[in-house]
């Protein structure tokens, strides 16, 4: 759906980095690890929030 606002484990706010991360590492060619380092998402609990996320809003949009 939408990127979670905070990391489930530690509570750090991660949502604001998603659009950057998506543009650079998911749709772009950059190395995801390097992008996360650059964004300051250091702990692996926060990193998995970004790495494992899929935007589904566009898929469910027609149904409501």
């Amino acid at each position: 759906m939408m990127i979670p606002v905070r990391c489930f484990t530690c509570g750090s706010v991660v949502g604001q980095h998603w659009e950057d991360f998506k543009a650079r590492a998911v749709e772009g060619e950059e190395d995801p690890g390097a992008v996360l380092d650059d964004l300051g998402v250091g702990r692996h609990c926060c990193r998995r929030m970004m790495v494992s996320h899929t935007d589904l809003v566009d898929i469910v949009a027609p149904y409501q």
Binding site: M2, G11, S12, V13, G15, Q16, V57, Q64
Partner: protein
């Protein structure tokens, strides 16, 4: 610099910053007992109150998310909370009105109170398509972390013992190959060195040496991060103040 444990009751504390930023810091406290260190840590996580959206009146929500999902996402947005300005339970009204096609961000929240503002503007709340609209009025309440994680000012708050590293001899060739991983901060002849500096591997710094590593008694390195609702310094001060207030209250109650 003496690192031996002093008699705790009249110990003078000694604080040294190792890493310092407004929302993330590491500092060493010498002369602090484990129970007191843990009391402060717990107070930072569960007792220092922060503002967070708690009640949402939905005027219009034609987005693909349910009202309560939107409510949760709004609740998790950190709001600036200057210490001492509000009482626990006091509330501030915020509103948000975004029409699609557009994305509603945390920065679109408009607060009725200058002191209480979203500290991060770029968190997407919901992506709105053509003809979708989100209009809400929200009530932010000052609450404690023990009631809900959204009121938790401290993030990943923890501490480790300061480690003292001493060279005690040379290793034979076979043992020298083994890595010796250590995380935290080490003390070498009174100098503080974060283990990041040698990639957390003591072999990088002391090649071929046999080492003695021990916890320094009553010396703890705290790692404190905040969600932005206040600075690290404010958070630590508030946590100490929370213990202090309770001790004063107990003393008064006993005297009666």
């Amino acid at each position: 610099m003496s690192t031996e444990p002093n008699s705790v009751a009249d110990a003078e504390y000694d604080v040294t910053f190792i890493e310092r930023g407004p929302e993330r810091a590491r500092f060493l406290i010498r002369g602090i007992t484990p129970a007191f260190a843990n009391g402060i840590r717990r107070a930072m996580v569960a007792d220092v109150p922060t503002m967070a959206i708690d009640t949402v009146r939905v005027v219009e929500n034609s987005s693909v998310m349910f009202d309560e999902q939107i409510g949760l996402r709004l609740g998790l947005v950190p709001l600036s909370t200057p210490p001492g300005e509000f009482e626990v339970g006091e509330s501030v009204t915020l509103s948000l009105d975004v029409s699609g096609p557009d994305t509603a961000y945390s920065g679109d929240l408009v607060s009725a109170e200058d002191l209480v503002q979203p500290t991060v503007d770029g968190v997407p709340i919901i992506d709105l398509k053509e003809d979708q609209r989100l209009e809400v009025e929200a009530e932010a309440v000052l609450g404690r972390g023990e009631s809900h994680a959204k009121h938790q000012g401290g993030i990943a708050v923890g501490y480790r013992h300061l480690q003292r590293v001493e060279e005690v001899g040379d290793l034979d060739a076979y043992d020298a190959e083994e890595s010796h991983v250590l995380r935290g901060v080490i003390e070498e002849d009174g100098e503080l060195i974060a283990t990041e500096e040698f990639d957390h591997d003591l072999r990088e710094r002391y090649p071929g040496k046999e080492l003695a590593v021990e916890d320094v008694p009553d010396a703890f390195v705290f790692h404190v991060e905040t969600d932005g609702s206040m600075t690290v310094e404010e958070l630590v001060s508030e946590a100490i103040g929370s213990l202090e207030a309770r001790a004063a209250e107990l003393r008064e109650a006993v005297q009666l």
